[in-house]
């Protein structure tokens, strides 16, 4: 009986401590998430400028609450292209890609925002040479080079490479459809 009481006592204290810990973490989580959102938005604004050099403002194209893509405008307020973000399933994780295309649907730049692909293989999608390949590529050439496209896959990471292409291709098709 005494032993059972001791166990119950220990158990109750463990549960109580866990509940307090959870409450404290919840209280910290809310304000830090707000701050994190602000930071992510800043990063997105920087990425838009990076993938679309020359643009000074970006108009959101909305579908309900969701931002589908951005219309990039230059100093004279004329349309120079479109920018977008796309979450695409890669090999191990969801890859968030930022991309820009000009009015002829030729890629002006891409940037990998976040990913958790395999280090040493898929994670190489962030390397500059991989992203550089997309510059100046038109929609029809957005394929891996072994399929006749313009993009060389990363050795050992075909799925991750293909995912980045799919992300861009998906958005190019979507924008083409909308802007027709």
């Amino acid at each position: 009986m005494k032993l059972a009481k001791e166990y119950l006592n220990a158990l109750a204290k463990l549960v109580l401590l866990s509940v307090i810990a959870a409450a404290v973490l919840g209280a910290v989580y809310i304000p830090t998430q707000v701050q994190l959102k602000i930071y992510q938005e800043e990063q997105r604004q920087l990425a838009l400028r990076e993938v679309m050099p020359g643009a000074v403002s970006f108009d959101q194209v909305l579908s309900g609450e969701e931002t589908l893509y951005y219309r990039a405008l230059d100093v004279n307020n004329s349309l120079i292209g479109y920018c977008f973000f796309r979450d695409q399933s890669g090999s191990q994780s969801v890859i968030t890609v930022a991309g820009g295309i000009d009015t002829n649907y030729t890629v002006t730049g891409i940037k990998i925002m976040t990913h958790a692909e395999t280090p040493g293989l898929g994670a190489k999608i962030v390397e500059p040479w991989f992203g550089e390949q997309f510059k100046g590529v038109e929609g029809s050439k957005l394929m891996l080079s072994k399929k006749g496209g313009a993009i060389d896959a990363i050795t050992g990471a075909t799925i991750s490479s293909q995912a980045v292409i799919d992300a861009i291709q998906y958005k190019v098709d979507e924008i083409q459809e909308k802007e027709k």
Binding site: E6, L11, L14, L25, V28, T32, L36
Partner: protein
């Protein structure tokens, strides 16, 4: 046993029980994040925060913590503080958070912190546990910053701290010092020097 004084307990954490050179604990983050002085400061700051929080909570609850569940309870306390600092750093210092990466969550299993909970805070008053946390934390910080200075200076030829250019020396930077090999070499040489000094002191006595 000699009576504990605040100053004595503080100094003990820096010299006699320095976590890296004397206790040889927490070597993994020490090797990994000392690529620059800034990273070293961020890491030891985070560790100090967790150590302080965990020492305070463990010593305050030491009479309430049942011996059979003490380790899970220590871990819950440490986890809570680590998650707090993890979320705060992610939100407010994103570049530093990115540089330290996995080593912030890994403070949970940092043997310095759980070691102090078990060996010190669980047996001492809140007051001395706070002093102990500051002592050990300072010891950790000094070693990390020292290694950071050596590696950043030799590896890049300069020290940049929070955007300010502090020192630069006219050398041909050895990238090797920034890589893991440089970490092993630096800490090996430092530890050899520390032990050399210690042995000489022993012989004199």
């Amino acid at each position: 046993m000699a009576e504990m004084t605040i100053k004595g307990e503080y100094i003990r954490g820096i010299i006699k029980e320095n976590p890296i050179f004397a206790l040889v604990l927490g070597l993994c983050p020490t090797l990994a994040v000392t690529t620059s002085v800034e990273n070293a400061l961020g890491m030891s700051g985070a560790a100090l925060f967790v150590l302080l929080g965990s020492n305070i909570m463990v010593s305050a609850l030491r009479k309430q913590i049942p011996p059979i569940t003490r380790l899970p309870m220590f871990i819950i306390i440490i986890c809570t503080f680590v998650t707090i600092i993890d979320m705060v750093m992610e939100a407010y210092t994103p570049p530093l958070y990115k540089a330290l990466g996995i080593f912030i969550p890994l403070i949970v299993v940092n043997c310095i912190i759980i070691g102090r909970a078990e060996a010190y805070a669980n047996r001492n008053t809140v007051k001395f546990s706070i002093v102990d946390a500051f002592g050990i934390g300072t010891g950790f910080l000094l070693v990390l910053v020292l290694i950071g200075i050596i590696r950043e200076l030799l590896g890049t030829g300069m020290i940049v701290l929070f955007g300010y250019h502090l020192i630069s020396i006219p050398i041909n930077p050895a990238t090797f010092m920034i890589l893991p090999g440089g970490a092993f070499m630096t800490i090996g040489v430092l530890m050899a020097l520390v032990n050399y000094g210690r042995i000489r002191k022993l012989r004199e006595v």
